[in-house]
Each structure stands twice: as structure tokens, then as C-alpha cells.
């Protein structure tokens, strides 16, 4: 016995496959849709001691979720090039960076935004400098996932 559904499905011929593919892609894209760019967003350059540091982020800043961070470090003087740095989300986790470990001076990492964070500030600091000098980037209010 041929069912009406099967008759309709087969009656479409090969056209059913690209049609189904397009619908599947559309439905999947609806589920995965995110209204922000997935590439790196530049938040500007700051001077930290003898370093010029530039911060970029990737993705959304969501409470309790990891945030992609990229720090590009250029040393004004070669003597300062190896001084260690640290990158942290204020109130959250931090990471020590050794400029000597990266030939390009580019560090990419992901740090978790605290659950309770309202306003998210990323801080780069140079612990070896007197008074633990730092520079900050205010990213604004984290959103609830």
C-alpha cells in the first residue's frame, strides 16, 4: 500500500533533497544564531610600563562563561621585553604571561567571567613594576547567558 505522504515525498523527485537540505540548514542556523561577530574585537591599546598592550576579545561577555582574550604586547625597549605580565578579569581568574615565551608577543587565552560580575573589567598588569602597575579595559555589563 502506498501512503499519501510517501507518494508526495517521492513525487518531488531529486528536488526534495536540496529542499530538505536548505530547510535543515535554516533550522540549524536558527538554533545557532548569535547576534554578534565571532571574530576578534579590538578594545584599544594602552601603555603599561615599557610595553604597549592591545586587548581584543572574541564572542559575548556572559556571566559565568569563558571569554576569549587576546593580548598583543610590544616592548618599547628591548631591556623590558622579557618582563612578565599578567592578564585578569577583575574579580575573576588571572593568567601569568611571559613575553619571552611568545616570539610574536601575542597571547590568546580564555578566562571565565565571574557568575556575579556586573561590569566586566579586564586588567593587564606588570607585577615587577613598583606598585603593581596595571591598565584596564572596561567591557561593560556582562549579560546573563
Amino acid at each position: 500500500m502506498t501512503s499519501p505522504l510517501r507518494a508526495w515525498w517521492r513525487g518531488q523527485g531529486w528536488v526534495r533533497w536540496p529542499s530538505l537540505g536548505l530547510i535543515a540548514v535554516a533550522l540549524l542556523s536558527m538554533i545557532r544564531y548569535e547576534p554578534f561577530p565571532t571574530d576578534w574585537i579590538d578594545h584599544g591599546e594602552r601603555t603599561l610600563g615599557a610595553h604597549q598592550v592591545r586587548l581584543s576579545t572574541q564572542g559575548a561577555v556572559r556571566q559565568g562563561q569563558k571569554l576569549g582574550l587576546r593580548l598583543e604586547v610590544t616592548a618599547a625597549a628591548q631591556a623590558d621585553a622579557d618582563r612578565p605580565l599578567a592578564l585578569e578579569i577583575v574579580g575573576g581568574s588571572s593568567l601569568a604571561l611571559e613575553p619571552a615565551d611568545s616570539a610574536s608577543g601575542r597571547f590568546e587565552t580564555a578566562l571565565r567571567v565571574p557568575e556575579s560580575a556586573a561590569r566586566v573589567v579586564v586588567r593587564a598588569l606588570q607585577p615587577s613594576l613598583p606598585g603593581e602597575q596595571d591598565v584596564r579595559w572596561d567591557l561593560g555589563f556582562a549579560t546573563v547567558p
Partner: protein, 385 residues
Amino acid sequence: MAEKRQRWWFWLHSWLGLKLSLLMGFVLVTGTLAVVSHEIDWLLSPAMRAPTAVQTDDIAWGAAFDAARAARPDLTWLTLERPSGPAFAVQAVGTTSWLEPRRLWLDPSDGTLLGETGWKNAQRLLRLTHRHLLLPTRFGIPLVSSLSLALALSLVSGLLAYRRFWRGFFRRPRWEHSRRVVYGDLHRLLGLWSSAFIAVISVTGFWYLAESLGWDAPALPEARVAAPRADALPPDFDGRRLDEAIAAARRELPGLAVLFVGFPQAADRPLVVRGQLSANLVRERANRVSIDPVTGEVLDRYRGEDLGAHQRIAEAADPLHFGTFGGLATKLLWFVFGILLSALSFTGAGVYATRMVKEAARSRADRPVPVEIPVPAPERLRAAR
């Protein structure tokens, strides 16, 4: 000869309808839902509901802007608008430092913050899915809008294949007959009653295809401020100055029903106030006043009537395709016709499928039934020899 031609139109109508039924049905259903997508969001998000119905002229734009700025000082403001009728709150859209748009909803009577929602909502998803199936727009828009050609051809072929179709407007479906007859009767009846709507959707859909292939209307020239500022929006630009700018826009275009404010995104761009005025079938962008946010000087103004023929066609496409030209009443009418059009796709497929099932059953009945012929046993054969 006439009958042969009619059969050919019928074949074309069936063939198109069947082959494209899946994709066309999907696009029609998403389009139908997209017509009322603002209302779906309104039902889903309490923050979008205005506590009291406020007419357009009474919207507290300045107070709304101040409240939005106070709630989210970290956002870069893009727009302030009321997305639909008086039951809707004012929407302020701003982007975060990571370029995610956020929506703040504000009471249109006094600007009180009602809530914040993300950019992703039913309206966004349905519109994008219907417009280009969420594919890259350079492929998706031509792909979806080219279905308008198939829709137009289905309409023409359907009418030509239906002998004396004008008599069918009040022909009752023969419910007592087989499923195939019911599907066919319903398909013809729905098709006739929605034929004008199908024509509108086909023509406007074809216009989107033309636009996507480079025949889009030239945009209105954008005004530039004489002295670029340090910031895109001056830091001291507040609700009071926004109200002054809106008052200036109303003086320039008396009777302008302000529905949209676009904040400058570059240091040499003006603040833009848009709305509805006297021209029919135009979007808000057709009536526009550009204002220097520092001096309050009016830099240019356009009315819908100032647009050229090409621009008026482009302006008319959206109100006609979305059914927004008459407010909620026409949107609901478009929604109902959208359901009818979607039903046409499915009833047409139903007609085909039930016919195929019937034909399969008939061919089985016509097939010669194998008759068992007694075969003589070999020994009997030998004896017979």
C-alpha cells in the same frame, strides 16, 4: 485544442506545486509567522508591553532616552523606536563593546525602564529565515525571492487550468466525496480567494529579487555635519536635547508622526528622525529630518512625496509584502491570507499524493492476476508420450 492547452497548464501547475512544495511551504509558513512576529514577541516578552496605550505624538522620547542611558551607560546607542502600535513599549537599541545589540524597553508615557532583552527574538529569527533561509544574503535572498516567479507562474497556470474559475468563488467543497475530491475543491476555493494576495506577494517578491540582483533604488543622500565632532554622539546629548531635535523635526515636517530616531555612528553624521507623514505606502525612512546633534541645526529633510518613482516602488514593497500599511488590522489580514497560501501548498500536495495512491491502487487492480495452471507431472507426461 483549448482542452489540450488547459491540460498543459494543469500539468505545469501540478508539476511546479509538487516539486517546490517542501521549500515553498517552509518559506510560506515562516513568512506568515513573520507577519505577526512583533506580536509574537509582544506576547512572549512582558517588557515589550506598554503599561498604557500611548499615541505616537505623546511618546516621551527624551525621558525614554535618559532612562536607557542611565540603565546601560556602557552601550553605544543606535536607535530609539516604537516597533509597532500603541500597545508596544519604546525600544532603545544599543551595542555592547563586543558589538552585541541589546534592546531596552521603555514606557512610552514617561520613559520608565520596563526591561532588557537580547537581540535574538522571534521577529529576528522568522524574518531572517523567511528572507534568506539564514544563508549568506548574496545567495539566500535571490534564492528565496526567485520563488516569487514560481508563485506567479502557479497563480497564472492555476487560473488558466481552472475552466470558468470566476464561477468557483462560492462553490462549496464536496465534503461527502473522497479525500482527493475534498483536497481538490479546497485547493481551488482557497486559491481563488487568495489569488489577489498571491499576486501582491509574487510582485513584491519579484521586486526583492530585482533588488538583490542590483536593481535596487538609490538611497536618499545622507547629510554631513559641517564640523565633525570628537564623538559620534556628544557625551552631553541627553533626553532634553533629543526632545528639542524631535520638536525641530516636527517644525520642519508638520504632522510628522515620529516613530524612529537614529543616533549618529560617526563623528560627521547627523541625528536622524523618521516617521509617517502624508505619503501612502512608504516606510518611516521616506520621511526624514537630519539634525546636527551639537547645534540642533536641521541639515536636510525629505518627504515621501520627494522620492522618485524607483524609490517609491522600493518603499511600497515592504508595506505591501508585510501587510503593515494599515496597522494591526492589515497585518492580521495578511496573516490569515498567509495561512491560506500555506494551506494551498499543502492541499496541492495532498491532491497529488491522494491521486498517486489511487492510481497505484488502480494499477494493482488492473494487473493480471497470476492463475495457477496445473502442470502435468513428468511421469504423466512420459506416459502421455
